[in-house]
Amino acid sequence: MLNNRTAHPTALLDVATSDASLRNFLHGLAGVDQVGADARAAMLATRSIKSSAKAAGIDLAISMIDLTTLEGSDTAGKVRTLCAKAKQPDANDLTVPAVAAVCVYGDMAKIAKAELRNTNIKVAAVATAFPSGRASLKVKILDTQEAVANGADEIDMVIDRGAFLSGRYLDVFNEITAIKQACGDAHLKVILETGELKTYDFVKRASWLAMLAGADFIKTSTGKIQPAATLPVTLVMLQSIRDFEALTNLKIGMKPAGGIRTTKDALKYLVLVNETLGESWLTPNLFRLGASSLLNDLLMQKYRLKTGNYSGADYVTVD
């Protein structure tokens, strides 16, 4: 089960009582050496995942996908097609698991919800003036409430990077708690937009800030800013999740999103989770891959593992 909590953990209650105490806490976290973090991620990327491990990894990755369409040109038709794919990714192979969720803009949540009724597939909706986050808290709360009213099971919010980078941590914290409240029963994924935070120290602080404020998941990117998810950024976030659990016993989920296109990429992320947080995190409840084109590559690789032949792009559906 996802964590469903409304406030930050009691063990860290006093951390966010003032801007100063929050700043002291975040600035007191151990620093991240960029060269070392990059090296560790690069080393883990050399893990060779073959045969039965690869087969298991592909199914696992499929089951963890937040199948995403976040385009200005999205239509009801596009969302319905995506939902059909989410339920049965490969019409020729019914052993392929369904994906974890379909991720859309808030106004499309209603359509997705209708298409996905009677399935375990969640509807995730981006909210809070996605992707820039540049709107008043009032607008962001309304955005969130509407998405939830439209049937969203999960809300993917963005943090106010401007506030974060100018050191107004308490503003970011309060905004997350407000959105968390607006979510009601819906689970909250907090997007840090690491491509705009630039340094790993900032990524680590933002991860802690989001977890302290009640995030169920922390997520790298909107997919609208380059670079989106990277292995070292994900590693730093996973290590923050590990340390947060050690302190609070709460398991926070992780979602790298954007730029994950190939089976090889997806397996590297699974290795990262496996060797940082361990196997207990290898579940869609605690790990998601935000992606659109990744699914077809996983299907092609699954087909190849089964038959020994590559099928080619025309043998998987373009949705």
Partner: protein, 481 residues
């Protein structure tokens, strides 16, 4: 079976062609020993015999030295740019045959294929490339306007990085215009013999590189040969002492790269997760068979418990086993005798009251294995804090202030390397200046580069290898013919 257990991912051994028996490499040919015997070389991960190699006698060494002496006349007269062509060619062939060399290294040494593939062999090629570039620029090596080579160089290398140590020795020697008689370690001679084939493939003039295999007796013949101008040795301090004595009073130049007991110093403002990786890389890289290994962890007391908890968690993830598996992190101990030495020193740690922790990995039944091990409650007076273990064993000590860290770090007969972990640049610079170590790494460990000089203080030896400084050891300052 767990949800996402990595399947075996074995590197294929079909790329290597190991002959049943090897002769000596003299004058660009493989020649039988005059009267030497053969001995077996094994795969330390399985104890299977890989091949038979020759124990070169004093007579064989003499023939090799004569070949090198003859070749020196023309090799040293060759224009630097011409010598460079040969060395570049060797570097390129090494890159071409990198996989083959890496697999053979792993088979004979026991180190993980990931390491021989990603660290050792790329560095080998890089060293040859680097020194090839120096061959026509020797006037800038820092020893005067017209430096000259010494002549015939006797080189004795260890078993921990067989091919890399060969590169460190041979590349600068050739670039400077010397010729070489090299003895690889008796347990790990196969890549040196493959290098002999590479010399043939590169059309290196006969006698420029000669490789004589064998154990201590062969080494003694090199050390005591009267027509050798320079000795270069990497290995134990004990053997280094013998060589220094033997060379004393002769005209032989000498460089020694010996043991170490490096302090890896962690301050309370260290980047913790990267520090953990640095500790792992410092002592478990190459099974701890590294002279500059970070074998003494000095942790500031205020973060000791937090750091150790993270470290134990990380060490339990180390994948110990078949060195040919691409996912193996820690491979086999190189020999039965080295394993016995590690056991003996670890037992002394227990006896002297240190607390032993070992990773919960399953060790293979055949071959030589030792689990990644950490000793806490270690005092400066314990043997495991003083003596080089040369295995996957970390001794953890604590300190309270930077002064205490520096004092403890320097309180060793060795002085090869050290590490500092801190996010505070000024502290790194201040502490580094106080450490008596040839290499000080800051927020990293065990990083090597052909442009960077490497060598020690005190009982860790003298002379430098790598970079411009490494060239000096192979050049004399004389300006006349």
């Amino acid at each position: 079976m767990t949800k996402f257990e990595y399947s075996p991912a074995l590197e294929s051994t079909s790329v290597v062609d190991i002959k049943p028996s090897y002769d000596l490499f003299i004058n660009n040919e493989f020649v039988a020993s005059k009267n030497g015997s053969k001995f077996q070389t094994i795969n330390p991960a399985t104890e299977q015999v890989l091949a038979e190699i020759t124990a070169a006698t004093a007579e064989d060494v003499d023939i090799a030295v004569k070949a090198a002496r003859k070749a020196f006349k023309s090799w040293s007269k060759l224009a630097g740019s011409e010598r460079a062509k040969y060395i570049y060619r060797i570097a390129r062939i090494i890159q071409d045959r990198a996989r083959e060399i890496a697999v053979l290294e792993t088979l004979n040494n026991g180190k993980p294929i990931r390491e021989s593939r990603d660290v050792d062999i790329p560095l080998v090629a890089a060293h040859f490339f680097h020194y090839a570039g120096w061959a026509d620029k020797l006037q800038y090596a820092g020893v005067g306007p017209n430096p000259t080579p010494h002549g015939v160089v006797g080189q004795i290398i260890p078993w921990n990085f067989p091919m890399l140590m060969l590169a460190w020795k041979i590349a600068p020697a050739l670039a400077a215009g010397n010729t070489v008689v090299l003895k690889p370690a008796e347990t790990t001679s196969l890549t040196a013999l493959l290098f002999a084939e590479i010399c043939q493939q590169a059309d290196l003039p006969a006698g420029v590189v000669n490789i004589v295999t064998g154990a201590g007796e062969t080494g003694r013949s090199i050390v005591n040969h009267s027509d050798i101008n320079k000795l270069a040795f990497t290995g134990s301090t004990e053997v280094g002492r013998y060589i220094a004595k033997a060379a004393a009073g002769t005209n032989k130049k000498l460089t020694l790269e010996l043991g170490g007991k490096a302090a890896n110093i962690v301050f309370d403002d260290a980047p913790l997760d990267q520090t953990i990786e640095g500790i792992v890389n410092g002592i478990f890289f190459n099974q701890g068979h590294v002279c500059c290994a970070g074998s003494r962890l000095l942790v500031q007391e205020s973060i000791h418990d937090e750091l150790m908890a993270l470290l134990y968690q990380r060490l339990d993830l180390l994948r110990v086993g078949d060195p040919l598996d691409k996912n193996t992190d820690v491979g086999a101990i190189n020999s039965a005798s080295q394993l016995a030495k590690i056991h003996e020193l670890a037992a002394s740690g227990d006896a002297q009251g240190a607390h032993r922790w070992s990773a919960s990995c399953q060790l293979p039944t055949n071959g030589f294995w030792f689990p990644p091990t950490v000793f806490t409650n270690v005092s400066q007076s314990h043997r495991i804090a003083q003596e080089e273990i040369f295995g996957p064993v970390l001794s953890v000590l604590t300190f309270r202030t930077p002064d205490e860290a520096i004092a403890k770090a320097n309180n060793t007969p060795y002085g090869l390397s050290a590490g500092i972990w801190s996010e505070k640049g000024s502290r790194i610079l201040q502490v580094a200046a106080e450490l008596k170590a040839g290499v000080v790494w800051a927020n990293t460990f065990n990083k090597f580069d052909p442009t960077s000089p490497f060598g020690g203080y005190k009982e860790s030896g003298y002379g430098r290898e790598g970079g411009r400084q490494g060239l000096e050891a192979y050049l004399a300052a004389s300006t006349d013919e």
